[in-house]
Amino acid sequence: MSGLVIESITHMWGAKQALEDVSFSVARGEFCALLGPNGAGKSTLFGLMTRLFTPRAGAISIAGHDLAREPHGALRHIGVVFQQPTVDLDLTVRRNLLYFAALHGLFGRRAEVRVMAVLERLGMAERSGERAEALNGGHRRRMEIARALMHCPSVLLLDEPTVGLDAAARVAIVDHVHRLAADDGLTVLWATHLVDEIRPPDRLVILHRGRVLAAGEAGEIGGTDLSERFIELTGAVS
């Protein structure tokens, strides 16, 4: 069963073409980086994958569920970390996670056990009783990831999850999500505009002005210097 399949997605914002015939897929257990400069259409694609809105044309399938035909079946398999924080700063870490669990139908002891499991997974177990306000930027992001994992999704979508973090926190989160793909078999789509978050064995999709410029293994696309290659590719069509 394939993790994530994007098929000929086209979307417009008014008269402006935001995405044009975008197709790619990410297999189960694969870490795929969606690389594109600001305004490439990454956030639009995330909105479509999470059904905040629906595309003009094309299809999206998540863990074998077509998003248009069985939206709730598909949404149940998605864990998503948006660029915007979703944490309620007035509530404790535990309360925040329980709220999200309940939105996915989990409550009571099952939810409590799950809260501890995801917090342990992210090395934050001792923080469960703290108010979210007391967490630093890196921990808040980790908590977002913990939240996204609450309902055991099979597809994890992250929209520039390292924005605003210092170098050490960034490396730690990039590494952790790589491990989630490798160890837990999660399908990961990681949107970024930062080349240094991508590793040579990762799958890579380069998005620019709403089109896919390149798709394949990062090492093959980038050669010796992905950064240079990225500028070359996106510069060539501007």
């Binding site: 909105g47 079946g73 939105l103 139908g105 409550f107 309902h151 490396v171 590494d175």
Partner: protein, 301 residues
């Protein structure tokens, strides 16, 4: 290309429990007893949303104070000044001459509903709330249900505020019968749902909210002042028949009248009909506005 981080620094303890639930099992559960499971999830989500609103409300003590200060200033200062200037004749539900304080109390209950309803619905488009709105809308439940949960939660907070205000008003000398307080409960709830639904409609069409002042000037004030909250309609007609007509079609007028009659344990059938009809229209418009194929698509996210 990448720095090699210290892997153990991040998650020093291997997790003891991993997959307590898995989505596929939930799927099989859902297929086996689709309707009960779905119903169950919907109820769990509703109670979580109610609980979250309640916790947030309790966490922000200033909010209750601010919500009470506004109508109390009107009741204590404004009404005292107007008492002398304004003569009120006996109109239903009143059977005797009343003071102006008694007249505007239901209107001020309406004011609480209006402010709180707008605030809680429009909080969906506040910058800092954008993330939590996305969280809500990406839950695997129908949009109309998620919006209903949000609406009910905000309305219950409004009702709570309204009764705290009525208690303070009683201490000030504006009292109703126990039966009136009881009969007002469904009326206040219905009014709260109606203005909350209007707020949801606005939130689906407003791109992004810079501040609350715009909404106050262009929505709350006209809705409030062009209603029977502060002056009876016949008094309005003396000033201008056109103004009176505008007030008479304002659904907020009918919500206020419904509450006014209910506080005397009486039913205002027209008020009830118009408030329910307005709730239905605003509710349908909100669901349409939040349709994934439309609504948010009009807003650049």
């Amino acid at each position: 290309m990448n720095a090699v981080p210290d892997r153990d620094a991040f998650a020093p303890n291997p997790p003891k429990t991993l997959n307590v639930v898995d989505a596929d099992r939930l799927d099989r559960d859902a297929q086996g007893r689709a309707a009960p499971a779905f119903f169950h999830c919907a109820i769990v989500a509703l109670s979580a949303i109610l609980q979250r609103e309640a916790l947030r409300f309790l966490g922000q003590r200033g909010r209750l104070l601010a919500a009470l200060a506004r109508p109390l200033v009107w009741l204590i200062v404004f009404a005292a000044g107007f008492r002398a200037a304004l003569g009120l004749s006996i109109t239903p539900p009143y059977q005797t001459y009343i003071t102006y304080e008694i007249y505007i109390t239901p209107g001020l209950v309406g004011m609480i509903l209006l402010f709180n309803g707008m605030q809680s619905s429009l909080s969906l488009v506040y910058d800092r709330e954008m993330g939590s709105m996305r969280l809500l809308l990406t839950a695997p439940l129908p949009r109309w249900w998620l919006l209903t949960c949000k609406l009910v939660a905000g309305s219950l907070i409004s009702v709570l505020q309204a009764y705290v205000f009525l208690a303070v008003a009683a201490a000030w000398g504006v009292r109703f019968t126990p039966g009136g307080y009881l009969a007002a409960l469904p009326a206040i709830m219905l009014g709260a749902l109606m203005v909350g639904a209007l707020g949801l409609v606005l939130s689906s069409f407003i791109r992004q909210l810079e501040n609350f002042a715009g909404v106050m000037n262009f929505v709350i004030f006209p809705v409030f002042f062009l209603s029977s909250a502060l002056y009876p309609l016949w008094k309005m007609a003396e000033a201008s028949p056109h103004l009176r007509d505008i007030c008479a079609v304002n659904p907020f007028t009918h919500a206020v009248e419904l509450i006014r009659f209910a506080l005397y344990a009486k039913l205002d059938p027209l008020g009830l009909a118009v408030t329910i009809a307005a709730l239905a229209v605003f509710g349908a418009a909100a669901i349409w506005g939040y349709d994934p194929a439309r609504g948010l698509a009009a807003r650049k996210i």
